[in-house]
Point group: C2
Chain length 655, copies 2
């Protein structure tokens, strides 16, 4: 997609792109000697003395409210993850409004659009450009792999960026800033003679013709092997050295095992940008690797919500929704006992969908995705879950930025998990003291790509046969197309860490009779599953109807377009109950499946359930939420909602 309301300029030379810096970056990629020599000369003048460096180089920092433009090409799951560390380092040091021009494929766009919408960073404008449209301009160049094509796109950025854009800094996704990008921007002005010269040249010779011609010449001599973007840049520069003005090397400190670049960062107290362009990435062996790695890890683990900071004295540049959110938060009464709940409900969590590479399931009419949410302390459930559920899963993980990195390491080192590409992991970043259980469920639900979803919890293991059985049942019952129904998967629990998991309903019943299994929460909260009617299920050979009753919270299979969970329920309590009421109010049939089952494994009580038990305020606030939920229910369903209120009151008078 091209920017709305701007003229498309595909195929035309956009003279306004300043390639100076772009070239400066790429120059050093393949030919460090050349780049370094040039940089060393500059260094002598500009960066030689620590005492002068910071001072003498920045006489023309851009005015504080000037918008700085940055272009990044980003495609696929891994680059989408990588680019965020770059963006965090950029935002940490920046003091100017930024406009990010992101050239993305559909995957990266989907991920980054969600991320930036929920990140809500003030004074950052994001615009997406469709990489697909650039492909024809470069696909004639032979190149070895997929990502190579995206690398080559930097050659044709002038063709896609708006004509009105005069200057842009082009960044690779694998760089980390350790300084304000305004200092880099300032070099435009500092070397302004060079810039003007470059633009003149571009006009006279035509950049597009020039690089194509040279690339084709190169291809002749290279006998049609592949070319990367840097090869093209280097070839152009070789023929037209007058076109390039190298950047001081502190703006592109490259880390590789060949430490030629060390001459650059002997004075690296002044280093500005680190480029992780070794294939070894963070594991590169280098005298100062520790220093660079720590800077990189700083932003890898940096809590992104802390970058939601406004700029001083510039016109308001709040992202969509941020102002209403601020107002709503400002209206909360900090002294109110349920303040924490109110605040948690209003929190907009940053969301990083499909954090890891993912293969969407092929379209199948009765396919089911298992939907669940978890935090770090349930990570060890994932392997077992993968063994029990061979189908697609959509899981929301509530993590800090640092935990997300631990999670990444956990998946990468698990053969079971890294083999599964049909499990989509969505990171919802932590904010606030209460677990936003229903917001997490909604994120996972929204990202399920099959027509049906199994709404489960992370501490349950489904019967090995459940995935196949559910798909067969959906087909047989003509769920969705013919009838609006929720299929109930009966829930059991074991109190043993190690359960010899039943392979069939018959085995399950034997364990149940032996006291090795119980129906779920038999001891603590029988009403949560009583309507499932376990006695009937024991004998049932066919699906049977059950009626809603107060506090019912079964695990169900429903069409993907089912009602969302009510996000007001944060922390412990009533989060599933309210969803089942919603299904009932919308007249979903409740059908119990005779061969389906799922077993809860033991775990320590969560922090939230502990707080619920120990804090009268917590219980009071949950009660308030319930009442507000019922008021909304009455508003939406009128008299039909009366039965829920009656049931609530009866249940409370019993308690």
């Amino acid at each position: 997609m091209l920017p709305r309301g701007r003229p498309r300029a595909l195929g035309a030379v956009t003279l306004l792109l300043l390639l100076l810096l772009l070239v400066g970056f790429f120059l050093f990629g393949r030919d460090p000697e050349y780049g370094l020599r040039a940089a060393a000369t500059l260094d002598g003048d500009l960066y030689g003395s620590r005492n002068r460096s910071a001072a003498s180089l920045q006489p023309l920092l851009p005015p504080k409210c000037e918008l700085l433009h940055v272009a990044i090409v980003c495609a696929g799951y891994n680059s989408s993850r990588e680019v965020i560390t770059l963006v965090k380092s950029l935002l940490f040091y920046r003091k100017n409004p930024l406009h990010l021009h992101l050239v993305t494929d559909a995957i990266a766009r989907n991920i980054l659009e969600t991320l930036f919408r929920t990140w809500m960073v003030p004074a950052v404008v994001i615009r997406f450009y469709d990489a697909e449209e650039l492909k024809p301009l470069i696909s004639w160049i032979p190149n070895k792999h997929y990502s190579g094509l995206y690398g080559l796109m930097k050659l044709v950025l002038p063709s896609i960026l708006p004509l009105s854009l005069a200057r842009v800094i082009v960044l690779d996704t694998d760089v980390t800033f350790s300084s304000d990008i305004a200092e880099l921007w300032a070099l435009f002005a500092h070397f302004s003679g060079v810039i003007l010269l470059w633009l003149d040249r571009l006009r006279q010779t035509g950049w597009e013709q020039m690089w194509k011609l040279i690339a084709k010449q190169e291809l002749l001599t290279l006998m049609a092997t592949s070319l990367a973007d840097q090869d093209v840049f280097n070839a152009v520069i070789k023929e037209h050295p007058e076109l390039v003005h190298p950047l001081p090397c502190v703006w592109n400190v490259q880390l590789s095992d060949h430490t030629l670049a060390e001459r650059c960062y002997l004075e690296a107290a002044d280093l500005k940008v680190i480029h992780w362009n070794s294939p070894k990435k963070l594991r590169v062996k280098n005298k100062h690797a520790e220093f660079f790695r720590n800077l990189h890890l700083t932003f890898l683990g940096y809590d992104g919500k802390l970058l939601r900071r406004e700029l001083f004295g510039c016109p308001n540049q709040l992202p969509p929704g941020a102002e209403q959110l601020q107002q709503a938060l400002a209206q909360l009464d900090e002294e109110e006992p349920c303040f924490e709940f109110r605040q948690q409900q209003l929190s907009v969590h940053r969301v990083h969908i499909t954090f890891l590479p993912h293969q969407p399931p092929p379209p199948r009419p009765h396919d089911v995705t298992l939907v669940a949410q978890l935090s770090m302390d349930r990570l060890q459930m994932l392997e077992a879950l993968c063994r029990h559920w061979p189908g697609p899963m959509s899981l929301a993980l509530y993590l800090t930025d640092a935990e997300a990195q631990q999670f990444l390491h956990f998946v990468e080192t698990s053969p079971v998990l890294s083999a599964r590409k049909d499990v989509a992991y969505h990171i919802v970043y932590r904010e606030g003291p209460l677990y936003p259980v229903n917001q997490l469920r909604n994120v996972a639900l929204a990202q399920a790509l099959t027509p049906y979803v199994f709404l489960s919890d992370i501490d349950f293991l489904p019967a090995y046969s459940l995935y196949d059985y559910l798909r067969a049942s959906i087909e047989q019952l003509e769920l969705g197309s013919q009838r609006k129904a929720a299929l109930v998967v009966p829930a059991f629990e074991t109190l043993h860490y190690r359960l010899s998991f039943p392979n069939s309903k018959a085995e399950l019943l034997t364990l149940l009779d032996a006291g090795s299994l119980y129906t779920f929460r038999y001891h603590e909260w029988p009403q949560g599953h009583a309507p499932t009617d376990y006695a009937r299920w024991r004998e049932a050979k066919a699906p049977y109807h059950v009626q809603w009753a107060a506090d019912y919270e079964p695990y169900v299979v429903v069409p993907r377009d089912c009602p969302r969970y009510d996000p007001r329920f944060v922390g412990f309590g009533w989060n599933k109950v309210a969803h089942i009421i919603e299904l009932d109010a919308q007249e979903y049939e409740l059908l119990v499946l005779p061969e389906a089952f799922s077993i809860h494994l033991p775990h320590a009580p969560s922090l939230d359930i502990s707080r619920f038990r120990s804090s009268p305020t917590y219980r009071h606030c949950l009660q308030t939420l319930k009442e507000e939920f019922h008021q909304d229910l009455s508003r939406r369903y009128g008299a039909a909602a009366l039965k829920y209120l009656t049931a609530l009151q009866q249940s409370q008078s019993r308690a």
Copy 2:
């Protein structure tokens, strides 16, 4: 304690302390109008234009290897915690070696000495000064509270800092840097005329006489109310305005509800230091509070280990032990299957002892401290543990910096936990993928202050009577003084979340017979506790001896000077077994207590146990560790250690 080998200079005017900056800081504390006016004038010259500011102000940054001196007064548990955020922000932006002069009470010294020793930050020198020795110099000034005395110490810093120290920056613990402290240091040179003038004046008039005289005058008119250090500074300045050269206000951006200071940070893109001097601290209402809060939270949650970075091109300034550690790490073979274990064993974790205010237990000859370790996912055990164990506890928590803040919030909002001052929490900061269980136990053990310790695990709840019973048993058995013995506390387990906890041995036996309780790991690992001889315990009325056997890992009460845990065992497995072998090798008697018991609550398997079960490499590495442990054992105990090796081999041939 005064610095070793430096002349003590108590009571003498140290002319070399540069009070310029010190005064600059305090000036704004009580009289913002005055400070601001002065600062505004300066701002006009120096900070007016964004374009010039960064550049024109730093013509004389100190040479990159120049040592910068910083003095901080810090006393008590909370200030020791607070100061770390300041230090992190300092280290994050600094490019010079730093010398921190810390004036501390015994509590802060104990905490900070451990922290800095384990932090191992290169190019940072720490020196402690005993605040006790300064007290007589200021205790004649009436002041309302304890911390006030420490505030006043800034007045007499010239008396305690070494004569050779020419310049020092004095910081409050509640400031956050957002820039390189070298820029502040540079102001010494920038205003060098003023500095010299100040020193001359100091010599001529005698600072010590001057401030005392003026303070006494003030006290007359104030009718003997209390004086804070800032009152004294302000009074001196009022009489001798020529002595002070105010700092640009960006070097002391104060946050308070009275936002007079806003005029300062209209241009706060240039802000350098934020001062959280409102009693509301982070909750202060202020137009830009969010911005400042986020900067503060950045360093509050910042992973301190990332600040272990060396400076470029300065002579090696590695802290003690760091060089050996680096060499040892460099010798590890990354391709070796047990590399992760080796690396984890070598990790030096930052340790923050007594993270929260703590009341050490009064000296009692038979007192026992419960010793345990935990990570974030077991936090919910703490309240129950406090109910079951009314005595002192020493707990090591394995957390990230960010989790430590969550933990702080958890304790503060728990009435049960915040009421207990006899529980000492020691934070061991996370580093590496394996849980360093024995290193954690050793930290908790080292900080136990009673003569005996109960070495427990966090998921066990002791009998309500255990604390009293143990003390009585220790006294009765004349443990320690007369005999070297380990008292065994028999371990049980429940598989139910909610257990009606037995109030006596009789009740416990009833539950055991009813199948509601089991002996610990009865199903999975009976040999771990079999030697306790539960059948005998059932009938026992008096303590009885048991013999060591392979894989025995009971929970024991021992004198505090017992052998430490072997830190090579990281992750899951054999960590307690090895410790019991060590006790047996050192000829501790093993005595089972007839009325003692402790019950394990259910929880999900830890990540480490999951990895142990699923990874052959993990099991192989554990096996390697066991073998190395036995080799060390043979070296230390000779033939006496043979029985352990034999037992290991027998146990393995059975398995």
